[in-house]
């Protein structure tokens, strides 16, 4: 569990006890969820195999979306609930590409291409709106999502088929007006990115098994490290970290080789490598972007708008760019999400995107002002672990799977509520201290 703190702390040989306490208070939410997920897993009596299969598909489905939330946090705009609009843009494009009948990987790439200008436009408008409601971006984003839902329904429920012509018996309702409530991507865009071989008659292409993937990752990691160390000659992270990562890697490889040589079911689990590569590219992009001039400007805007403005940064412009970037990423993320699911509810799939992505990010240990890639990835993993185990643990504990299902929804809302409240409280106290009251 890594947690980045922006402020370098003075270290005067902290005692072990203090360090532990510090670590616990800083990662309270995350630790709580690790415990909850573990307990749920044990109570549910789920087989690790099922869990592993489910978690791999869920994490690769959702990670991109959660990563899209990071940049607005850096720019000081809080958790961007308006990614729902990006999701809507994604769905719009998916509907049209499905209508044109372009399948598989080419279809997905076309979706990415087409959704970019649309999402940029929506992001621009959202950024303008956020600039008029500074300090209240989160509630504005949330309400904007509901507002856009109305517009979206107006277009796809009432105008498509009538004013916007569309002739397609599988997509349009039998009355000829409005898109059907579910859009099926099977035999079309489904698995377009996860399983690119499907559209080229090479089903094995880029679908290695889990043990092979682990070995591959280990080799890539070693090569990457050597390049990093000897070609770029960069400074190294702490030795303890390196060694522990190396040991974990070696253990994982040993386990993988063991699995390959046995007839274990683990060899049946296939990994959507192309999706992972796309997620990895996004991670690198975010790291790289934070180091550019614009990224640095964004960070100073996030720390203090007034100071940034007085040092000559165009605050409003930087904020709009942050929202636009987040919106495009969210649109892509939602396309990745839906190509994995293989079908979506036309008027509902995007609604929960904001809620679940934000909750996942917060569970990973992020706050309203501090979010990093590790928060996002860890959060997705923990959140979905909880999602997988809660129905069956609800059944075991209460004799009712519904309880578990309601519980996980409560967790999503609750974690957002609690972390927003904690943040607001902290800010209030800080302001009071600043004023010397």
């Amino acid at each position: 569990m890594k947690s980045e703190t922006n402020i370098p702390e003075l270290k005067t040989k902290p005692e072990f006890k203090n360090a532990v306490r510090d670590f616990t208070t800083r990662n309270m939410v995350t630790i709580l969820f690790v415990v909850m997920a573990l307990a749920g897993f044990i109570v549910s009596g789920m087989s690790p195999m099922m869990f592993l299969m489910d978690i791999i598909s869920r994490v690769s489905r959702n990670a991109f979306l959660v990563l899209s939330l990071i940049i607005p946090v850096v720019a000081g705009m809080g958790l961007n609930f308006s990614i729902v609009l990006g999701a809507m843009a994604g769905q719009t494009v998916l509907i049209f590409v499905t209508h044109w009948g372009i399948n598989g990987l080419p279809g997905i790439l076309l979706c990415f291409l087409l959704v970019t200008p649309l999402a940029m436009f929506l992001g621009f408008l959202t950024g303008k709106l956020f600039n008029r409601t500074k300090g209240q971006e989160m509630i504005t984003g949330l309400i904007l999502g509901f507002f856009a839902q109305g517009i979206y329904e107006l277009i796809f429920l009432q105008l498509v088929g009538g004013i916007i012509p569309m002739q397609n018996k599988t997509l349009v309702m039998s009355s000829g007006v409005g898109i059907r409530t579910t859009v099926d991507l099977t035999n079309g865009l489904k698995y377009g990115l996860d399983w690119p071989g499907l559209s080229f008659d090479m089903p094995e292409l880029l679908r290695p098994t889990l043990p092979h993937t682990i070995i591959g990752l280990f080799i890539i990691g070693i090569v990457g490290f050597l390049v990093y160390r000897f070609v770029f000659k960069r400074k190294l992270p702490s030795k303890i970290k390196l060694i522990s990562w190396f040991i974990i890697g070696v253990l994982a490889v040993v386990w993988s080789v063991n699995q390959i040589n046995s007839a274990s079911m683990i060899n049946m689990i296939r990994v959507p490598v192309l999706t992972w590569i796309v997620i990895l590219l996004l991670c690198f992009f975010i790291i790289f972007f934070k180091k550019t001039k614009l990224g640095q400007d964004m960070r100073s805007v996030g720390q203090d708008r007034y100071v940034a403005a007085s040092s000559g940064i165009e605050v409003d412009r930087v904020r709009i760019i942050a929202v636009m970037m987040s919106m495009v990423m969210a649109a892509w993320g939602h396309i990745i999400f839906l190509q994995n699911l293989g079908a979506f509810s036309t008027y509902g799939s995007h609604e929960q995107i904001g809620l679940y992505s934000v909750a996942a990010l917060l569970i990973g240990g992020a706050t309203v002002t501090n979010a990093s890639i590790s928060h996002a990835l860890l959060g997705v993993f923990l959140f979905h672990s909880l999602f997988i185990v809660s129905p069956s643990s609800g059944r075991t504990l209460f004799g009712n799977a519904q309880v578990g299902e309601y519980f996980r929804v409560f967790v999503a809302y609750g974690v957002i509520g609690v972390s927003l409240a904690m943040h607001a409280w902290k800010k209030l106290l800080q302001n009071k201290n600043k004023l010397g009251v």
Partner: protein, 355 residues
Amino acid sequence: MKKTLIDFIKKFGTARVIILAFFIFLCLTAVVFQMDLAKLLTSSLGRIGMWGVLVLAMLPAISSGIGPNFGVSLGILCGLIGSLTSLELAYRMGDSLMMSGGVLFFIAIIISLPFAIIVGIAYGWLLNRVKGSEMMIATYVGFSMVSIMKIAWLVLPYDSPEMAWPIGRGVRVQISLAGRGITRILDNFLAFRIGEVKIPTGLYLFFAVMCLLVWLFMRSKSGIAMHAAGKNPRFAEAAGINVNKYRIIGTTLSTVLGAIGILVYAQSYGFIQLYEGPMFMPFVAVAAVLIGGASIKNATITHVVVGTALFLGIQVVAVPVANAFTAEWSSMGEISRKIIQNGVILYALTQARGE
């Protein structure tokens, strides 16, 4: 003439002018299409009265400075607990004590009051700690409480047959009030007809009494202090007013009105809606008061009444008008509600700057 018109629009707010124009347009269309105006008017009146108290719940919250109460669902939940408990009571007492619908309605109010007061105080305490982000936090506190109460509805020991599922555990999603004679108990009280239009006198009497009570409170010493605390907290603090205390009072009052409001709503609707039911109700109430002319910082009873009439009037009229255009536009009512409701909240948020 042109200048005064522009001034008027500016003062009234562009969003509100558009909504008013839309409403007038809908009404005119209804006349042109020769719809059953009496029926439209009757259902508008019913709907407006149904929401009245819930919208009124926004007033003390805005006055005390916490802004529109996006967490009024807490009050709604208290009201729901009250109504379920009173129904359960009627069932358990059974034959020994036959209670009429009216008595049950008031028992429900009385049971929900202590819950609402306690929850309101706790909620006000929380909101005092998150000044500046009340709206967002209120929304998520509301969402989380509604979702935890979903679990509660499954496990709470209500087993009156009209509430519980015949098999399994938990309370139904919708509970009919017809069996106990509570349906439209206020609506039908002293109701009369003018021509074809039915006037739900009792409903409006109740709403008027509630408005009067709030009006009186706002004119009392505490009310004025609360208003001052909301209007300018620093100034009020300097004048010796305990701002945090009055914010708690405002929140509690809002929560209590929310609890009573949902009971009025339920008797009018004829059903108690649980689970997802209260989730998005606060947004309707917030939008209604904002449409009436309130801002994030300022609201009056007139805003409440005008806003409820305008917003819910539109909702009632929009559906048949849209259907009159073409049968395929059946979802138009719901869609226009979403756009207007959230559009007006967004508009109010953009106007809040610099206040």
